[in-house]
């Protein structure tokens, strides 16, 4: 009898604790909302927003002029408060990427909120620990909060899982950095702000071939990682088409990312002059160290995962001298937009923004521009209390509109295909004296 009662009591306690979740989520999100608006008003005094504001309004007016035929809505204004959710790894092994995107998007939202009091953005970032299950949980949490569109996910595998949920729900998603094609495949509501993996792999092969960087190329990639394997496969395919000779292909996994002497020796014995590293910067830093230790003087070529290597703690940046990487963003670019973003990011986070931060910065702007574009063509738009399904249709129609372009820090004149992939020019940079220099 006692056990039975205890069981009833426990199950009741369990149910109470579960249902409590629904209620408490609301109050906590209200808190976060408050803080975001607070910081936004603080930023209103900041005068450096001009650069961003100018270019964006120009783009919008240009675009609006293009579709002048739609006369009914000239000069329509955008009003209301948009709730934007961010899903990314804020803790765990990939936390650097998630936090960079979060910080970058916060700066963009502060700038947008400072532009006009009529249109405000509330931002809420949720942690997914770079795990598909947690990511779907984070997404559902944001849905409960009332998110109207999602910036995310930051990493590929969680993004595929969340994209399927968002597709079923009709929630618009703009991913700053999930680069696999499987993210956008079959999901008309998901758009990428970064290059897709096939683009990165083939663009790297093309770049190496066109600039005659090397005759013999070696590849070291992580065969336990979707991102790394995806880029390798397209790199190899493009290299075969171009006739670029890949003399050594070696792999590692996350568990064996402590020693690369075997892979480096094989590359050296095969006479490779350049090693292509479609991997993240932590193992890459070890490869540089070991290559230097065995005095193997080789060119190293990375992709966007290599970005961030210079801010890695305890890393001797002199080892990265001469490393080339393909990235859409370099923090030392001199244009007004980039330098304003970099200085703000540095003062807020005391580190140089990585490409992920730049992607995160561009995402809210892309959505903001899209809404402004729609408002201008359709006689205004009030996003207050608008359902995410309705907003999703609006954003899809704008993003797939060829006349819609966005100028951001990761590229100017960005357009999107109906498949959700972005069109922008890749930039190659080389590390000289501890900073990126454009090639």
């Amino acid at each position: 009898m006692k056990r039975k009662l205890l069981a009833v009591l426990l199950s009741a306690a369990m149910i109470c604790s579960l249902t409590a979740c629904g209620g408490s989520a609301d109050s906590s999100s209200a808190d976060t909302a408050d803080t975001t608006t607070d910081t936004a008003t603080d930023a209103a005094t900041d005068t450096t927003t001009d650069a961003a504001a100018d270019t964006t309004t120009d783009a919008a007016t240009d675009a609006a002029a293009d579709t002048n035929a739609d006369a009914s809505g000239e000069g329509g204004s955008l009003t209301g408060t948009l709730k934007l959710g961010v899903v990314g790894p804020l803790t765990g092994a990939a936390a650097l990427y998630g936090n960079a995107v979060d910080n970058g998007s916060q700066i963009a939202v502060e700038e947008i909120n400072a532009e006009s009091a009529d249109f405000q953005i509330e931002l809420n970032a949720q942690d997914d620990e770079h795990d598909a299950e947690k990511s779907v949980n984070a997404y559902n949490n944001l849905k409960d909060w009332g998110a109207q569109a999602i910036i995310g996910c930051v990493t590929t595998t969680p993004c595929v899982a969340v994209a399927a949920e968002a597709y079923a729900d009709r929630m618009f998603m703009l991913t700053p950095s999930a680069s696999a094609t499987s993210v956008t495949e079959g999901n008309d509501n998901v758009f990428q702000l970064c290059f897709s993996d096939p683009n990165q792999g083939s663009a790297s092969a093309q770049y190496i071939f066109d600039n005659k960087l090397a005759e013999k190329v070696a590849v070291i990639y992580n065969n336990a990682d979707a991102y790394s394997t995806g880029i390798y496969q397209t790199f190899q395919a493009q290299a075969d088409t171009l006739g670029l000779e890949v003399v050594s292909t070696t792999t590692f996994t996350d568990d064996t990312a402590n020693d690369f002497s075997v892979q480096l020796t094989e590359a050296q014995n095969a006479g490779a002059e350049l090693i292509f590293l479609p991997i993240y910067y932590t193992p890459a830093s070890l490869i540089m160290k070991q290559a230097a230790d065995m005095s193997y003087d080789v060119k190293l070529f990375g992709v966007d995962g290599m970005d961030g290597i210079l801010s890695l703690e305890g890393f001797d940046t002199s080892l990265a001298e001469g490393v080339m990487l393909l990235t859409p963003f370099s923090a030392d670019a001199t244009d007004e937009l980039t330098s304003s973003f970099v200085s703000k990011y540095e003062s807020a986070n005391s580190e140089t923004p990585s490409q992920f931060a730049a992607d995160g910065y561009d995402c809210p702007y892309a959505i903001y521009e899209a809404l402004k574009y729609y408002a201008a063509n359709n006689g205004g738009l009030n996003v207050d209390g608008m359902g995410y399904e309705e907003l999703c249709d609006i954003l899809i129609s704008v993003f797939t509109d060829p006349a819609f372009t966005v100028d951001g820090v990761t590229g100017s004149g960005m357009t999107w295909t109906a498949a959700g992939e972005v069109n922008k020019a890749p930039k190659a940079v080389v590390i000289e004296n501890g900073v990126y220099v454009g090639l």
């Binding site: 006692k2 009662l5 069981a7 979740c21 906590s28 899982a161």
Partner: protein, 350 residues
């Protein structure tokens, strides 16, 4: 009620808890009162409950330690996905397809369980822990190199890369190495998940209360005494271990078919330990404890989202507190006095 044996009553309470859990959430969700955060977690909760029950059979009932149960889960997950995708056109009814996938996952996981258990369970000591630990890592690495595709000629396998599957142009790649299975149709439902929990509970409770179950427990308590009574140690240990592996496989298939993607990396050592935590905190050998611990500890990290950056810290503190309280004699006495009062009141009412 009074004629029922103590164990049968306890079993029925367990079914009752699961059914009440199902009914309450079904009513809440049809009334639209359920947050999407929670409704998205119902199937993972059921999966982890099944995993915890399965592991409890090995750790609690048969007294062996398995540190690689996520490995069995991944075998079930990927074989279940392959079964579900390859039957997509021939079996149109989603529940039937889900059932076939779960059974396939359970069978393949059982086969791997036999392969692991056959040599290892003959040994005395902690060898099972060591071997299952290695098994979990091996299966993860094998799946990282495994490519499976399907076209009109049937299934194609490769250990090299996706291009060497030699498929017809219209074929689909089901498992793409480290990218895992992509584009899975979501066919798991809350109802099917609860049914799986009930079936697993039914099998384990009947096994534990049967002659074989008593033999398994006897071997756990005193191997030499059990052997001297003529019990076949190997047979009974295999029985518990293989049943447990099959259930983990079924849970894996259910889990994988709830998400549109599943990667081998998910089923690593951390997942194995997470399930062991459910079992240990719920009470080793205590099935009801496993159910409740798995459900609460799956939801807890989501409830703690309001703590933002300190979320996992709070989670760890909660785990430590639960461990301390459940092992503290004073705390136990306090809980006992509260429940004792309730029991007395109930007795007076009756």
């Amino acid at each position: 009620m009074k004629k029922m044996s103590k164990s049968a009553r306890s079993s029925f309470i367990n079914y009752g808890i699961v059914i009440v859990f199902f009914v309450i959430f079904q009513v809440l969700s049809s009334a639209g009162k359920l947050s999407s955060s929670l409704s998205g977690q119902l199937i993972p909760i059921c999966t982890y409950v099944v995993m915890a029950l399965a592991l409890n059979l090995v750790v609690g009932i048969s007294g062996e330690l398995s540190l690689g149960h996520a490995g069995f889960m991944s075998v079930g997950a990927f074989s279940g996905v392959v079964a579900a995708v390859s039957l997509q056109n021939s079996v149109t009814a989603a529940p039937l397809r889900l059932m076939i996938a779960i059974i396939t996952g359970a069978l393949l996981a059982a086969v791997t369980g036999v392969i692991i258990g056959f040599p290892v369970l003959r040994l005395q000591g902690d060898y099972l822990a060591i071997v299952t630990l290695a098994f979990g890592e091996i299966i993860k690495n094998i799946l990282n190199c495994l490519y499976i595709g399907a076209d009109s000629n049937g299934l194609h396998f490769s250990m090299k890369d996706g291009n060497s599957l030699n498929m017809e142009p219209g074929g689909t790649v089901i498992i793409n190495g480290p990218m895992g299975a992509l584009g899975i149709q979501k066919i798991s439902t809350f109802l099917s998940a609860v049914i799986l929990v009930l079936i697993v509970l039914f099998i384990i409770q009947n096994l534990v209360n049967s002659r074989a179950g008593r033999a398994i427990k006897a071997i756990r308590d005193n191997r030499i005494a059990a052997e001297s009574c003529g019990l076949n140690i190997m047979k009974y240990k295999m029985m518990a271990f293989v049943v447990s592996a099959a259930m983990a496989g079924a849970a894996g298939a259910l889990y994988a078919l709830n998400y549109s993607t599943v990667v081998p990396k998910k089923f690593d050592f951390n997942t194995s330990i997470l399930i062991l935590v459910f079992v240990v905190l719920g009470g080793i050998g205590n099935l009801r404890g496993s159910i409740i611990a798995a459900a609460i500890l799956t939801v807890l990290p989501e409830l703690l989202r309001q703590f933002q950056d300190y979320r996992m810290l709070v989670y760890a503190i909660v785990l430590i507190l639960v461990m301390i309280i459940t092992n503290n004699s004073k705390a136990k006495a306090f809980i006992g006095s509260i429940t004792g009062r309730f029991t007395k009141k109930a007795a007076v009412k009756e």
